[in-house]
Symmetry: C2
Subunit: 136 residues, 2 copies
DNA sequence: CTGCCTGCAAACTGTTTGCACCAGG
DNA sequence: CCTGGTGCAAACAGTTTGCAGGCAG
């Protein structure tokens, strides 16, 4: 169950460092272009592999958010997210409400309920501006 | 802004009917194979187009759930979902907790917060059985 | 040295779209 | 009829993976 071995390659280190530095909850692609400025020859596959690795080992968080593209967060402290319904961008909620307990919850067809989470939908400032100018 | 015109084709009717009949919150693909039993020549593209259409016109609900594959719900009443962390399957929560209000919520970078929703993670019975037998 | 990790490219999955024909109202 | 909807296939976007060589420890 524990990791057999871990190699801190330059790629892995830079990915982790840049993810922790940014506050934008980037997709793998976005992080790829950020990291490429420091490691021009890194491949997208490596970014994916390391994001998976880092998420599995608990150093970063895979966001369980709606939307087609996965996003990642270098901040693993417990906090909640707003997601822009137009572009999928994610922001941090500063004053989180308590998510309800799942103790004793019983759902048909489910063996167990592990935890709950509050998700917020919103409109980010960029999209708000864009909608105002576009007829939509 | 209103729909210009709407044609209730056989395909659209069957898709809507089958989606309302099932309780499994199917993906487009799953619904495709259900519908194909009645309309063997229907195309997957048509299923996607109609799911989009029906969701936009409010007759069905696109589930804003985590996971890579979109799922749809023929039940548009307000209720909450548990999602299996292994297979993505979705179940209905029978006794929903109230989702917190978003009045006056302010998030940096966001113009507005529209609504909140509680999501539950769980393990469905199928996966629970499978995990027990597999070493994982 | 050893074998985990990388770059590269091809493969895959889920979804969208262009086009010519079809059929609902 | 007329124009939205359909089937089909090709195109896309995001992600995963096989392979040969590279580098961390």
């Amino acid at each position: 169950m524990a990791q057999v071995q871990t190699r801190m390659t330059r790629q892995r280190a830079v990915i982790l460092e840049e993810l922790r530095k940014t506050k934008t909850h980037p997709t793998a692609d976005e992080l790829y272009s950020i990291v490429r400025e420091r490691l021009p020859r890194i491949s997208l596959g490596t970014v994916y592999r390391n994001l998976d690795f880092l998420a599995d080992s608990g150093e970063i968080r895979r966001l369980e958010a709606a939307g087609s593209t996965k996003r990642f967060d270098g901040d693993i402290s417990r906090h909640q997210h707003v997601r822009c319904v137009h572009c999928g961008r994610i922001g941090d909620v500063m004053t989180p409400r308590e998510a309800p307990s799942v103790d004793g919850m019983d759902v048909e067809g489910f063996a167990s309920v592990l935890n709950s989470r509050i998700e917020y939908d919103g409109i980010c400032q960029d999209c708000a501006g864009r909608v105002r100018s576009t007829s939509h």
